[in-house]
């Protein structure tokens, strides 16, 4: 991965850093997975576990920050090494946010569990979460293999996530208009969907950081246009029964 340094402890330190990033990534993936499972199966206990697990990620981020700063101070890194270290700081921050978003979804489980929503909504959320998690998994796999030429998929997935989110947004609005009693759970679900969509964005950020670590260049800047929910307006009439 890196070229060998004369001081082998330096290599060890850099390796330790990427190992910690991978461990954080694994935790973040697991948290999001379990948060969505808790939401779909209305499982408050699993949700509590996810909320507790967030501490691990906070701890991980602090540790990586400390280690990275010590390495910079001790070794005066240059070029790839410096990018590797700065990249680790950035990726750990993104992963910590992913964990927060997972925790936020888990916190809403109780509020949503009260009134059971139509199954199709949960299926939609699950599909959205699968897209976001696939994105995160593939990005972290690229971090392991350093094969940045494969990173183009991130953009495609981002488009899919946005399309799916827009569709869910519209559906949730429809349910709220059908029956005001749906408003509370649907609003929570809307936030859940938003949080999951944000996880995809963080995965994209991580992909950009990895691209920068490996190539030293910024990723070409043709960001997709994002979701279209800002333009969704449903007519304020009762839908036909």
């Amino acid at each position: 991965m890196q070229s060998v340094h004369i001081v082998s402890a330096y290599d060890e330190e850099l390796k330790y850093l990427s190992k910690r990033i991978a461990a954080m990534g694994g935790h973040a993936e697991r948290m999001v997975e379990q948060a969505v499972a808790a939401l779909v199966n209305a499982d408050p206990e699993l949700a509590q576990k996810v909320i507790r697990d967030d501490l691990v990620l906070d701890e991980g981020q602090r540790e990586i920050d400390d280690k990275a700063i010590i390495i910079i101070a001790k070794r005066q890194p240059m070029a790839t090494d410096l990018r590797e270290i700065v990249g680790a700081i950035r990726i750990s921050a993104d992963l910590e946010r992913v964990g927060d978003l997972g925790k936020n979804v888990a916190k809403r489980v109780v509020a949503v569990a009260d009134g059971r929503q139509p199954n199709s909504l949960f299926r939609g959320l699950e599909a959205l979460a699968n897209l976001a998690l696939t994105q995160l998994k593939e990005v972290l796999d690229v971090y392991a293999s350093r094969s940045v030429e494969k990173i183009g998929f991130v953009r495609d997935r981002d488009d899919q996530i946005d399309a799916m989110y827009t569709s869910l947004f519209r559906e949730l609005l429809t349910y709220m208009m059908e029956d005001p009693r749906n408003i509370t759970p649907c609003t929570h679900l809307l936030f859940c969907a938003k949080n999951i969509e944000r996880i995809g964005d963080h995965a994209t950020n991580i992909a950009e950081t990895i691209y920068y670590i490996v190539t030293g260049d910024q990723m070409p800047a043709d960001r997709p246009k994002g979701d279209k929910t800002d333009k969704i307006i449903l007519p304020a009439t009762q839908p036909a029964k």
């Binding site: 390796k15 990427s18 190992k19 991978a22 993936e29 299926r123 998690l133 392991a144 827009t166 569709s167």
Partner: protein
């Protein structure tokens, strides 16, 4: 009778073999018994002498045989010494990864490459297997706390797979470790399938069942003496029961597909012939809906790796949808093209209708189970809400992609991209 005869002969042979194999034990036992008798009686020396002679005689023919087995053992041992870890790993059917003290991959067998894409020698295992339990397993093995350990590891994406992973150190002080993945997806999937089937089926079957129950109540009550209403209600009930039957068929076929997400490799499908037969089989439906099916096939061979029956089901579902929901367009175009420009060369099959099209917000979701763009329309067309879900499942197994383009009022185009390998 003959069977029983041969079986009996076989058994007799097996007994004889067993006797022959344990001849030394038997001989020794015999000698021991003789010796006991000998010591008990007076002519001990004579019996002992006879025993020694017996053993010596028994040894004679066996001496050669024993030597040859010893030779074989020697050859085997040196062969085992020379056997490279690579061959051994290749002979293991389960994914197997050999790694060193720093958790870097030293060697992975073909099964591991197939199961986990994107691994290469030198890559760090702890970067690839990030799940907390896998991290803990690697840490405890590398720290030398335990010589071997195993955990359950579940990969959710892209296809759910469950493994029993065992890690252990190799030999003495080789600084090498081995990770073996035992696939347990099947058992897990059966459990899941049962739960899913019950959840989906109960939800979707309740609607027709409720309507049948309602009509039965009406028939026994207010409509008891109304033959016209009875005829009408019985017709509705018949429609509902056939809907339930279709639903169960689709659910079963979906569950079967979910049971085996991997495809058996090695079979080729001639798309031209497969799609021709799909078009023939849907001829009556197209005529009934007033739709003309047009063909636009590329020249030359159009073979792709895949399962013929499954691909038939894909195109049947897609074409059936096009005929039903694109009815207003009056025609459906089926085209087969080679697409070499794609990063993954293969064959594109496009089924295009000119009907009312699919609103943009529904496109990302129409492959979900029971997702319907228009519930009323789907019910009148005898849809179960599972067709595209089945299509998507089959295509995932074929490593194929489904892309959907549609414009409201202009129709929809479903393109299946099948990689040529």
């Amino acid at each position: 009778m003959a069977d029983i005869g041969t079986e009996r002969k076989g058994r007799a042979q097996a007994v004889a073999m067993r006797l022959w194999n344990s001849r030394w034990l038997l001989a020794a036992g015999f000698v021991a018994v003789l010796m006991v008798y000998g010591f008990a009686g007076m002519s001990g020396y004579v019996v002992l002498l006879a025993g020694v002679v017996l053993v010596a005689a028994a040894m004679l023919p066996a001496g050669v045989a024993r030597q040859s087995t010893e030779n074989a053992a020697a050859i085997e041992a040196s062969g085992l010494q020379r056997l490279s870890g690579e061959y051994l790993a290749a002979a293991v059917a389960d994914p197997l990864i050999i790694f060193d003290r720093s958790a870097a991959i030293v060697h992975a067998n073909a099964a591991a490459f197939a199961a986990f894409g994107g691994i290469a020698p030198g890559m760090s295992l702890s970067l690839k297997f990030r799940a907390p339990e896998m991290q803990a397993l690697l840490d405890s093995i590398l720290a030398g706390n335990v010589a071997s350990d195993s955990v359950d590891y579940i990969e959710k994406l892209p296809v759910e797979r469950a493994y029993r992973v065992s890690a252990s150190s190799v030999g003495h002080a080789t600084d090498l470790y081995v990770l073996v993945f035992k696939d347990q997806s099947e058992a897990r999937r059966i459990d899941r399938m049962r739960a899913d089937f019950i959840a989906n089926a109960s939800h979707e079957l309740r609607t027709p069942l409720a309507s049948i129950a309602g009509f039965i109540e009406t028939l026994r009550g207010p409509a008891r003496n109304d033959p016209a209403a009875r005829e009408q209600f019985l017709q509705i009930m018949q429609n509902q029961t056939s809907r339930m039957a279709r639903l169960i068929d689709d659910l079963l076929s979906l569950s079967r597909l979910e049971m085996k997400p991997y495809l058996k490799p090695g079979t080729e499908v001639d798309l031209r012939q497969a799609i021709d037969s799909v078009i023939d089989s849907l001829g009556p439906l197209a005529k009934e809906n007033g739709v003309v099916i047009e063909r636009d096939f590329a020249e030359g061979p159009l073979d792709v790796p895949g399962d013929r029956d499954e691909l038939f089901q894909v195109f049947e579902n897609l074409l059936e949808n096009a005929c039903k929901y694109g009815q207003s367009g009056g025609r459906v175009v089926v085209s087969i093209m080679r697409s070499d420009s794609d990063p993954e060369p293969g064959i594109d099959v496009t089924i295009r209708d000119f009907g009312s099209g699919i609103p943009e917000e529904h496109i990302p979701r129409i492959t979900e189970r029971f997702y319907r763009v228009d519930v009323e329309n789907s019910r009148t067309q005898k849809g179960t809400g599972l067709g595209l879900s089945i299509v998507k499942h089959i295509l995932t197994r074929h490593n194929a992609r489904l892309s959907i383009r549609s414009e409201v009022g202009k129709g929809a185009a479903f393109t299946v991209h099948l990689p040529a390998r």
